[in-house]
Amino acid sequence: GAGVSQSPSNKVTEKGKDVELRCDPISGHTALYWYRQSLGQGLEFLIYFQGNSAPDKSGLPSDRFSAERTGGSVSTLTIQRTQQEDSAVYLCASSLLDTDTQYFGPGTRLTVL
């Protein structure tokens, strides 16, 4: 079946602009995660959605970052007033349960000029 998809695959934006990154998880997966990965670094947790529970936003680096998950499926990560330090690969993952294997999308490479 279809895996996790993310769009766009690449995004170049100017400092100060807002960007939206999209994630389509595997159908039926209740848990959805957003991570950020900078070059040569490990995955930095950003936000976690589980079913209808309130999301765990503890990893969001600032209030410029927000995320939504509509209908328990598609998720959008929004970065407002982008800064150069926001440049990274943003990865989305989903899992059937929160204690289960995570399945990752290909990521969105964000470059802020």
């Binding site: 996790v4 991570y35 040569g40 670094q41 490990g42 995955l43 930095e44 947790f45 976690y48 765990d56 990865l91 993952a93 929160d98 204690t99 294997t101 995570q102 399945y103 990752f104 999308g105 290909p106 990521g107």
Partner: protein, 112 residues
Amino acid sequence: SQKIEQNSEALNIQEGKTATLTCNYTNYSPAYLQWYRQDPGRGPVFLLLIRENEKEKRKERLKVTFDTTLKQSLFHITASQPADSATYLCALASRSNYQLIWGAGTKLIIKP
């Protein structure tokens, strides 16, 4: 503070030999540990999960060990092949909330 460490230097191994990667952690009470493979430009792909009460797990040419006393996991690839070249990430799930905490990964290069 909580920390997961993987060797940041690339590991070069001759084809056919066994590659061994290390994941060390501090200040965690892990429920389980996972190993993932990541190729350039792609998201990580799950390989193996080992729970806190398990010493060893195998899958084909892969073997993972978990020593909660040493706070260390070893990941072995036997009969390594150039196609095994990738970055390998370890991730710990703590007992408190099961969120995965990730190491930075070790780049493995298998030379023909």
